[in-house]
Symmetry: C2
Subunit: 356 residues, 2 copies
């Protein structure tokens, strides 16, 4: 039976990425050695490292003056690297969910944190608006997509202070105006590659504004100067990211990808809004994520929840159980998720409605 992989992350990868990675693990470029056993200073891996940077720059249309890094430790290590490098006195954070809270917690190790707004009052089911970003903050931090709660900041924010975004779960899902950001970072394990690496897009002139002794591995300057090769990189993961970016470029880049993502998410949200069994957790359509579609059983049908999970699972749907802090269901429909899988899931929702 065909599996439809709605896992929230690590998540579905393009078939192209999977096949190319397996192939090069067996034999890298036909040189008779595995991708696993070549030096990160070899000409083969140097090409991978360069291509990872140049493809991300090309696809996201990253302006001059920015460096692109691929570092181990995912977004979680960035939660601490961002304030280590940028927080002198005070930073402003927008609290839109669990991951934003984790980022805030780390910033507090380094200075004052001003949480300018929070949607905690309604279990993070919306994106706060009408907040004021303090002009004396060293930076303003947002989580662009909230994987657990299914909300997303879909427009690039105009910030009076340097804007830092954790875009772990919506990077490359749509065009972004990178020039509005000082840093865009995230784990790669949604739209880029398998787990094991974080990407960091960083405006170089944001660094060195104040004095702090930063351990070498946590200092962005180390990795900019080292071209992401200061320490031995996660070669397989970066190779896989390159394959996904090639696939995305070939598909037409971010404009095409965005159109497809809007179409896929609209199909699913329309069915949730229509189907009498379900209600969406995010009421405001403007705030609904195009990557993670969260919904729960309508209160009249609460007893059907486990039945729906079982039924969907029996039809090949994988990873649709909602996060424990929201409950219900979550369909993660990242870039690599084909429209056909979304349609198959919608069929399952319709069938289950008819049965009940």
């Amino acid at each position: 039976m065909k599996k439809h992989n709605f896992n929230p992350g690590p998540s579905i990868m393009p078939e192209f990425t999977i096949k190319k990675t397996a192939e090069h693990i067996l034999d890298m470029n036909g040189i008779g050695l595995s991708l696993m056993e070549i030096s990160h200073r070899s000409k083969e891996y140097s090409a991978v490292n360069e291509e990872a940077q140049s493809l991300l720059k090309e696809i996201l249309d990253i302006p001059a003056g920015y460096a692109v890094l691929f570092l181990q430790g995912g977004a979680s290590l960035q939660f601490c690297m961002v304030p280590y490098n940028l927080l002198n006195k005070k930073a402003a954070y927008l609290e839109t969910g669990s991951w934003a809270k984790k980022a805030i917690k780390e910033a507090k190790f380094f200075g004052e944190v001003d949480v300018v707004a929070s949607s905690a009052d309604r279990n993070f089911s919306y994106i706060p608006k009408n907040y004021t970003i303090p002009t004396d903050a060293d930076y303003f931090h947002v989580t662009t997509n909230n994987t657990i709660y299914g909300t997303e900041i879909k427009k690039d924010i105009d910030s009076p202070v340097p804007l830092v975004a954790d875009a772990s779960s919506d990077i490359l899902s749509r065009p972004m105006d990178v020039s509005k950001y000082a840093i865009i970072y995230g784990g790669v394990q949604k739209n880029l590659g398998p787990a094991g690496v974080g990407f960091v897009i960083i405006k170089e002139d944001i660094l060195g504004k104040f004095e702090r002794n930063i351990p070498t591995m946590l200092n962005y300057k180390t990795h900019i100067e080292g071209n992401s090769l200061f320490n031995t990189p996660a070669c397989i993961t970066v190779f896989a990211c390159v394959q996904t970016m090639k696939w995305l470029k070939n598909l037409g880049g971010l404009k095409a990808m965005h159109r497809i993502n809007i179409e896929k998410s609209a199909l699913l949200y329309d069915e949730i809004d229509r189907n009498k069994l379900f209600i969406p957790t995010v009421a405001d359509k403007e705030d609904r994520s195009i990557m993670n579609v969260t919904f729960v059983m309508h209160e009249n049908y609460k007893e059907l929840e486990s039945g729906f999970l079982e039924y969907a699972s029996s039809k090949g749907m994988v990873g649709i159980k909602g996060h424990r802090s929201v409950g219900g269901f979550r369909a993660s429909i990242y870039n690599a998720m084909p429209k056909e899988s979304v349609q198959a899931f919608i069929e399952v929702m319709k069938e289950f409605e008819l049965k009940n």
Copy 2:
């Protein structure tokens, strides 16, 4: 032509590891999904995570009271995590090469560092002896194998203070008495798996001896409590490490591996000592690494250096150029290196001697 992979790291992997990893990237345990796209909380990956810990505990005979972690960032991040967690006032370090110097540099961010001995005076071509470990140090740090310089501390040290070892390039090459260490850590990319993960074997009661605010990702307690799953792990890399450990266990474990490593390194050192063209960089046989065999052209034949590199390369030898800080040649003969490749390299050395 068959390649003989003497790369210093990332380095040769067992064929078993390469094939199993490629296979499971295409289809994990036959479940119809790739190792790349399953959740790190899935039962499939949980089994991998558990097996990584239990195999390392079994193979190294790790006593109770120790945790085994697999964390992103390699040994380089450990250079900073060790002092972040353990250095209250003063730490003692043994300076045996470039990697020891890097570890020392990071420790200085956190407190006083007492370099108890150094072999810098003779370009790190020996292991210092007869030094005194200060009893008031929070810990004593050594680099057990010096990849660049070809020296190795082959006996477990008796230390009056907690002993911390970077064993990146000789872990699992021989039995160790783990009970003598507070921490053994390293990158996995020599004897365990592809680059992208560091292993940490840590005595749990060494932690929490003094107060310091440690960012969450840099705190060992986070990862002990999180069972190496606090943040999304580098699933592919850990999976590959498990395969290598299965291969090693099947081969007879560390006693068998050690015997093979002694045999392989003896063959090579004997040839270097015999061959009129070459001289070893490490004179004292007791200090010679069984993992990285370093040697240079005899002074009478200096002009043949590039010729030998070319000749060896034409015979399929890969990665034998010495590190720039030593020059000459380095044959890295990690666990996965077959005796046949060592013999093939010795043949090349003999042929080149005959030609000249």
